[in-house]
């Protein structure tokens, strides 16, 4: 890991992102503050994907030709890089990828669904899947700050199995309310699913504490790491979670590729979700057996060039340095909290300090709907997200219908934070609320 001794060279970084040089809405300089939704991609990632397609494109893990071999190596090489990036086992003992704790999915949403559906499928699987079975009396615990992707699949699993869905509340400050931890995570709990960092509040949750509590009662943990893995050093082994998901497109990679991490012994016992080609061991007309993980969870020809590009994104992030990126975003977040906090009528929804807080800053502007604020910002070139950011129950909890969210990444600058603050003041002028 690199050190934070030298700050991030943001000018150098920005030069790698062609899109940041464009203008929008009649010659306005683009100020892209929506990386929490999707990040931009550097030339190195695009080059890697193009090079793969131009030199080695083939269906992986099949085909008796050189291209198939090279494509498989590139795909599995990406898996290994990603495993190293998040501190988990890359496998490789008995052949490419065998034993890897990294499963490629379409995105993080699919990763959560994979676990939830596989747990549902445990009902009809063998005795090795016993620990994944859920039924009436069992409990699934989530939090009120979850993205819909880590809430709705659990609601659905509860409906299908008769299990009960419960959740941690959120404090007025926007932190997880753990005051009833011992009551919520109990002998009936089978799953505890929660975000590492809230995509709305920016709050970084105490993963270790929750994982320890879950382990004490024998419950499985599922971590939504979409907003953490792209923005700082993350080590799933050190965090002690059982499963974790994240998406490639939020970490300089392409869309259509995501990652599920699962502890090896769990992946080995987990029944499949999607079935078909590639994921089998033996197929007969009446019945089939399944490949060991990760192949068991990757039915069909996978998204190969996207995986290769995500590997390149991990290389890029590693070269810049995850500590350095976290420190850079910390500075931007501090600037935004200060600048927005000084505007009368602006209410920040989430922690006001930068302790255990990432670079998603959501806010409400008194007297102006978030959509209207966003429109004024857009007219000035400032790209933000507006609405409930796929966390509707959280917005209800925070007593706000919709918020404006600015989210930062390694290529953003303090000048851009200033542009955001100025644009919010302009929105107030335009709508005459100040």
């Amino acid at each position: 890991m690199t050190t934070t001794a030298t700050p991030l060279d943001v000018v150098g970084v920005r030069a790698d992102f062609a899109i940041l040089g464009r203008t929008v809405r009649e010659d306005k300089r683009l100020v892209y503050l929506d990386s929490g939704a999707t990040s931009q991609r550097p030339r190195q990632v695009l080059d890697a994907e193009r090079a793969f397609v131009e030199t080695a494109n083939a269906a992986v893990h099949r085909g008796a030709h050189q291209l198939a071999e090279e494509a498989t190596d590139a795909y599995e090489g990406a898996r290994q890089k990603i495993a190293d990036f998040v501190g988990v086992d890359s496998g490789g003992i008995s052949g490419p990828a065998a034993g890897s704790e990294i499963v490629f999915t379409k995105n993080a949403t699919e990763g959560v669904n994979l676990v939830a559906y596989a747990m549902g499928n445990a009902a009809t699987a063998g005795p090795e899947a016993e620990r994944f079975r859920l039924g009436p009396g069992d409990e699934i615990v989530v939090t009120e700050m979850e993205h819909h992707a880590n809430l709705v699949p659990w609601q659905q699993l509860a409906e299908r199995t008769g299990a009960t869905l419960r959740w941690f509340g959120v404090t007025d400050e926007g932190r997880l309310d753990l005051s009833n931890l011992d009551e919520l995570v109990n002998a009936r709990t089978k799953v505890v699913a929660f975000a590492h960092q809230s995509n709305v509040l920016g709050t970084v949750n105490p993963v270790r504490e929750l994982a320890d509590a879950a382990r004490r009662v024998g419950a499985l943990t599922v971590l939504d790491a979409c907003q953490s893995v792209p923005h700082g050093p993350v080590d799933f082994k050190a965090l002690g979670v059982d499963f974790a998901v994240f998406s490639g497109h939020k970490m300089l990679g392409p869309s259509g590729i995501g990652v599920l991490y699962g502890r090896r012994e769990l992946l080995e016992a987990l029944p499949p979700f999607l079935t078909g080609g590639s994921m089998i061991e033996m197929v007969r007309m009446a019945k089939s057996t399944f490949a060991p993980p990760p192949a068991r969870f990757e039915a069909g020809v996978p998204m190969t060039s996207q995986a290769v590009a995500l590997g390149a994104a991990v290389d890029y992030l590693t070269a810049v340095g995850m500590d350095r990126i976290a420190a850079h975003e910390h500075t931007l977040t501090e600037g935004a909290l200060r600048g927005l906090g000084e505007i009368p009528g602006v209410r920040i929804v989430g922690p006001l300090d930068v302790v255990d807080r990432g670079g998603a800053v959501s806010f409400d502007v008194e007297g102006i709907h978030a959509h209207d604020v966003g429109q004024v910002l857009d007219s000035l070139g400032v790209a933000v997200r507006v609405g409930h950011h796929c966390a509707w129950p959280l917005h209800q909890r925070m007593n706000v219908a919709a918020t404006v969210r600015a989210s930062f990444y390694l290529y953003n600058t303090l000048d851009e934070v200033d542009a955001l603050v100025d644009a919010v003041r302009e929105a107030q002028r335009f709508f005459g609320v100040r």
Partner: protein, 147 residues
């Protein structure tokens, strides 16, 4: 400036001083519509007198575009035969889905022509149509209830 094209004075006036706002009795049917991307919502009631729209009342929360559009709706349809109200709705929908290429008819849409600029922003079209979808649904429900 583009912003002024979108937020015409007429729209801002309707937003700040909405016409016909508030839920009223009696009514024949009610519709609740949600824009799932932003969480905006409107509850709208229609009261029909035979074939005529006697009253439209509504409540909700949302952006200036959705609120102003619903306010304009009440101006356009109250007191009109249902058929004529639907013709106005069709004209408004056509305007909103026209990507800024449709020339609105002021005789038909009155203040509604101010939304021509909004049609250039596809993400806001849903906002402008929220109240109208509620109106269409409520009329269908009241007719369904009578049938």
């Amino acid at each position: 400036m583009q912003l002024q094209q979108m937020y015409q004075e007429i729209i801002l006036d309707h937003y700040k001083n909405p016409h016909g706002r508030g839920l009223r009795d009696p009514f024949d049917a009610e519709s609740h519509q949600i824009n799932p991307t932003c969480g905006d919502e409107v509850t709208l009631r229609v009261s029909l007198d035979g074939d005529t729209v006697r009253d439209v009342s509504y409540d909700g929360q949302g952006c200036s575009i959705s609120q102003a559009s619903t306010s304009v709706l009440t101006d356009l349809v109250v007191g009109k035969p249902v058929g004529e109200a639907f013709k106005k709705m069709d004209a408004f929908v056509e305007l909103m889905q026209g990507r800024g290429q449709v020339e609105p008819d002021e005789d038909v849409l009155e203040d509604g022509i101010a939304f021509a600029g909004v049609a250039k922003y596809p993400a806001r079209v849903k906002c402008a149509l929220l109240g109208w979808m509620a109106f269409k649904d409520a009329v269908a429900r009241s007719e369904g209830a009578k049938a």
